[in-house]
Symmetry: C2
């Protein structure tokens, strides 16, 4: 396997796996492409490499920047914008955990809080059971939320610590 074949392999695999992660195939491919590129790339480089349209590249690169795992690089003397991926795998993982917490866990907590059955008859066993289900969902979600929060916080303060070095 040559270097280019290996890269192609990773990009394809990443794309396929992306869908099972709830990320669009193209977004995962753009990410993989930037991840294995030793230099930053322009929109046109990406269009060319993945054979996709300008609008598509623009949209996916922007999403990846929203996730905080790709950044814009401005080169002095160049008008075009260049993009590069975060290369530190631990940081990528942390960033994804942080965003998923925000995008998935927090909405669940908000939705659960909106459900109130104050009006209902609390002597009804069905009401009681429902209330208990909601209560345990809340506890589970907020527990997960707090656990993630503390991992993220710990990571942010132990930036140079030994935990981090395990993944280098």
């Amino acid at each position: 396997m040559t270097l280019d074949e290996a890269k192609q392999h990773l990009i394809q695999a990443w794309g396929t796996l992306g869908s099972s992660w709830g990320v669009s195939r193209t977004m995962a491919q753009v990410h993989a492409l930037l991840l294995v590129s030793p230099v930053s790339m322009t929109t046109e480089d990406i269009m060319e490499a993945l054979q996709i349209s300008r609008g598509n590249v623009n949209m996916n690169v922007r999403d990846l920047m929203d996730w905080g795992i790709v950044r814009k690089v401005l080169k002095p003397g160049e008008r075009k914008e260049f993009f590069e991926a975060e290369k530190d795998v631990w940081k990528i993982g942390m960033q994804i955990a942080k965003e998923r917490k925000k995008r998935e866990l927090e909405p669940i907590l908000r939705a659960l809080d909106q459900i109130s059955i104050i009006e209902a008859d609390i002597t009804d066993p069905d009401v009681k059971q429902f209330a208990e289900t909601i209560e345990s969902l809340k506890k589970f979600a907020s527990n997960t939320d707090k656990t993630l929060e503390s991992i993220i916080k710990a990571d942010e303060s132990l930036f140079w610590g030994s935990f981090f070095k395990l993944f280098k």
Copy 2:
């Protein structure tokens, strides 16, 4: 808010959130419906409650059973099959963690292992960088895998612990 309104609320919210979790809206709704139902339900009950077709119910209930969070219940004297959701939120969480590990993490590990650049010139700095990226992805993925594995194992041994106590 009445009990039914509250249930409806949860079902809708679960459905919306399902998509951000990479689960289809309907599957999430069927799950929520069974989760808040105090009794097990037939295919027809679910069709009626969510206003969806028979084939759709059949498919989603089967998927939920594959995830191990819904089970079939046979009632003596009844020809129809009834379905009920696992009610223990911790068990649901564990089951989902277990399945996601199998469906998402393990394919990543397999894909990474297939990438070999043995042929390539290892003095090329680009090859070296690529190899390092693959290596750290592998380490990260297998670390996450092992961590999940140990949580699952710990949970299962708790289960077997209390299971055997029943026969003391």
